[in-house]
Amino acid sequence: MSATRHALREVPAADRPPTASPSLVIALVGSGGDGIALLGDLLLRMAARQGLYGMMVQSYGPQIRGGESAVILRVAHEEVSYEGDRTDVFLCFRLADLKRFQGAVRLHPGSVVLLEESDAGELPGWIGASDREPYRYPFAKLENGIEVSGDPKNMLALAILCRVLGWPAALARETLGHRLGHRPEALTRNLAAFDRALAGPEPPSMPIQAGKAKGLLLESGNEAVARGAAAAGLRFFAGYPITPSSEIMETLIEELPAQGGVVVQAEDEIAALGMVLGASFGGVPSMTATSGPGLSLMTEMVGLSSMAELPAVIVDCQRAGPATGMPSRTEQSDLNHAIYAGHGDLPRAVLGIFDVVHAREAMYKAIHISERYQLPVFVLSDAYIAQRRQIRGPLQAPPGMPQRMVWSAGMGPARFELSGEHGVGPFRVPGSPEGTYLAAGIEHTQEGYPTADGAIHQEMNQKRFRKLEGIALETKDWYRAFGRPNARTGIIAWGSQYGLLREWVERNPDGRVFMPEILHPFPIAALEAWRRGLNATFVVELSFQGQLHRYLSGLTDMSGARSVARSGGMPMNSSELEGLLEEATR
């Protein structure tokens, strides 16, 4: 376990891999009213403006509004997609809220602790992990012992944090202006409070210098999914609100119409995917986004997409299931469903998202695959990625727009011609003269006419499944392998485990990691090649059943590979990972 006691920045220079970079973890704890989220957001925006990378995760209590609220923020000189599990700066407005964060917040001797001055009473033992005296400030305004509304606490805290981090107050004011510009009176009130706290007693310092990176971008996983899709040519979206995916629809409402696209809130998820297939039948690149319950509801419609050969992208922001489960918590347990659900034999592709940066790339690839091979493509995100806000580098323009092979008069082949390359034929877009045909979920002849002939059904299945061969060929390198090439301990994982494992290999010179970008069809040859020379293989995932492990066992010989799997909830952190690996080894 000792390895985990070091956060990234303390790794002795000697065995620190070149990519290692100084970073700071800031934890902010308060109650709903305290504006913790806004405070975290302002700090993250300031980081981006200073050329720093970083990310922020948030957690709420069950209450819709009010209740405890916490933010963990990390800023660093290189891209990070893991919030770290050691806290360098810890701010808490209310001693009472501390208990809940036992364990979640892990201090070290150098940690800076900022507390409410008037909060008398015993500090929990774990605060002692820091050798530095807690800094106390009167955030709350008291009138004979009772708290009354005074200066916005988050603004006072912003000023103090600027001083702790050594960040320019001017930048804070500017960012605040940017954020609250549309509410002038609020802005003045907040600036006043900010200035007051700047004048207060000197807080302990934990500086991080500005970085060199330019044009950094701050967005959430859901925003990145929405924008990545729009950038890849998406022009129709239909969805139904569901946590943690709703912001995908909300972002597209803001941004897609300006690009000539249409966004509809459907009456349910069946209708949402139905509308998507209708638009796709019209030749328009289309997608929907949902989470587990909606995903399950779409099952029949996915079969139609595959059978009628209508491109469709289905984004699933996984949450803890089954049924309604734990809507705000992350999990990786929709993999089986994405790969296997639906009556009958139907080809589909499944991609997984690593982090906010990868989200845009993944959406481009998903739309490309669905448009090129005319089938449904699932993109699996999860609550951990969807709800996180992350700073990323500047965007590159995509390599060119995804294309659907389009039919035109005189071209010849029937809509469902068997002979097309990879089983794909030119798509007849409504409006094309002489192109009329019958699309159907009923098994059909090459012309699309209904049939009950088993021989034709077999031919059509062959045609449709040839698409998977084409995809497998094209995507055989769609994975990321990192860590020392000759390392002898290997971890296979997918999706949001990416950030954690990126840092795991940095702390474990003898470790390497394989993460598929496409889960079905799986780049199995690459995996088999990668496994050569390993003494120990672990499959790490947030699924009680270990769905990835079981799935791989059906594709290749996994004997000896150990499943490191648990149910969803909080994402895994370094120390937990080390613990689970140790257990699995015993």
Binding site: R45, H178, L217, L218, E223, A226, R227, A230, A231, G233, R235, F236, A238, T251, E255, L256, P257, Q259, G260, V262, V264, A266, E267, I270, A271, G274, M275, L277, G278, A279, S280, F281, G282, G283, V284, S286, E300, M301, L304, A308, L395, A397, P398, G400, M401, Q403, V429, P430, G431, P433, G435, T436, Y437, L438, A439, A440, G441, I442, Y449, P450
Partner: protein
């Protein structure tokens, strides 16, 4: 173009005497009247005997899933407004499994025409009761469940705020033709309730009975008066004609103007610092 130019090579598999033949004919006639080019036409259905109709038309036809024609048609029309889109289906398809989509399609008021071929039975699955099956018939057939009252689809659609509501009878070809023509012309969501007998699973006399129970709306009927339309819908006789027509001030919003070519133009979304920084 003539009506027959809107027919596909496919021969209907319907039983001889099935009401659906009349609707196929009436629809192709209406399309010919309106001179809609087949390549600008989409005919979309769910699953059922009646839902086989699109395959018999020369159009971009889509025989979708049981009960799901409405959202699929809406997706097409919203993204391709230049395509005339007609939806056909049965009473089971539209009023049982698909009912949840109907009031929303009406509210959304996308420019679609929805014709329900109502034979008061599940034909394709061999004669189970549908939401419009009358209790007596259900009783005699000993069909499942407590004594459900039949649904009044026309009243339901009126209550959902539909701007064009008509009823016709598959046995009256000129009337079917006229109603469908008017409905397709209407710039918004239009609903046509078509009484169409099932000669195989209804009591043999059914089509006849239904026909007896039909009357044309009286000339004095005010089709712009919702109250009057609801009255007419609630009458125990089937009143044929345009029960309600509300001329829409606005044509539906939120549709793209682009041609297909248009939507393929590559663009880079949300990359400016500002939008990217906005929440």
């Amino acid at each position: 173009m003539k009506a027959k130019d809107y027919r596909s090579p496919l021969e209907p598999v319907w039983c001889t005497g099935c009401g659906d033949f009349g609707v196929l004919k009436g629809l192709t006639q209406a399309l010919a009247d309106l001179e809609i080019p087949p390549e600008r036409l989409a005919v979309i259905s769910g699953i059922g005997c009646s839902s086989r109709l699109p395959g018999y038309t020369r159009s971009y036809a889509f025989n979708t899933l049981h009960g799901r024609a409405l959202p699929i048609a809406a997706g097409l029309k919203l993204s391709r407004p230049e395509i005339t889109t007609v939806i056909v289906g049965g009473d089971g398809d539209g009023f049982s499994i698909g009912l949840g989509h109907l009031p929303h399609a009406v509210r959304r008021n996308v420019d679609l025409t929805y014709a329900v071929l109502d034979n008061g039975i599940y034909g394709l699955t061999k004669g189970q009761s549908s939401p419009t099956t009358e209790i007596e018939f259900k009783r005699t057939r000993g069909l499942a469940g407590p004594d459900e009252r039949p649904l009044n689809p026309v009243l339901l659609v009126l209550s959902s705020g539909c701007g064009f509501v008509a009823r016709t009878h598959a046995g009256n070809l000129p009337h079917v033709r006229e109603m469908l023509r008017e409905a397709i012309r209407y710039p918004g969501f239009s609903f046509v309730h078509v009484l169409a007998g099932c000669v195989t699973y209804q009591t043999p006399s059914y089509a006849q009975e239904i026909y007896q129970r039909c009357t044309l709306l009286p000339p004095e009927h005010d089709r712009t008066n919702l109250g009057a339309a609801m009255e007419a819908a609630r009458g125990d006789r089937f009143q044929l004609g345009v029960l309600y027509r509300q001329d829409p001030e606005v044509t539906p919003e939120g549709t793209v103007e682009e041609s297909v070519a248009g939507v393929w133009q590559p663009r880079l979304a949300g990359v400016s610092e500002d939008t990217a920084h906005e929440e």
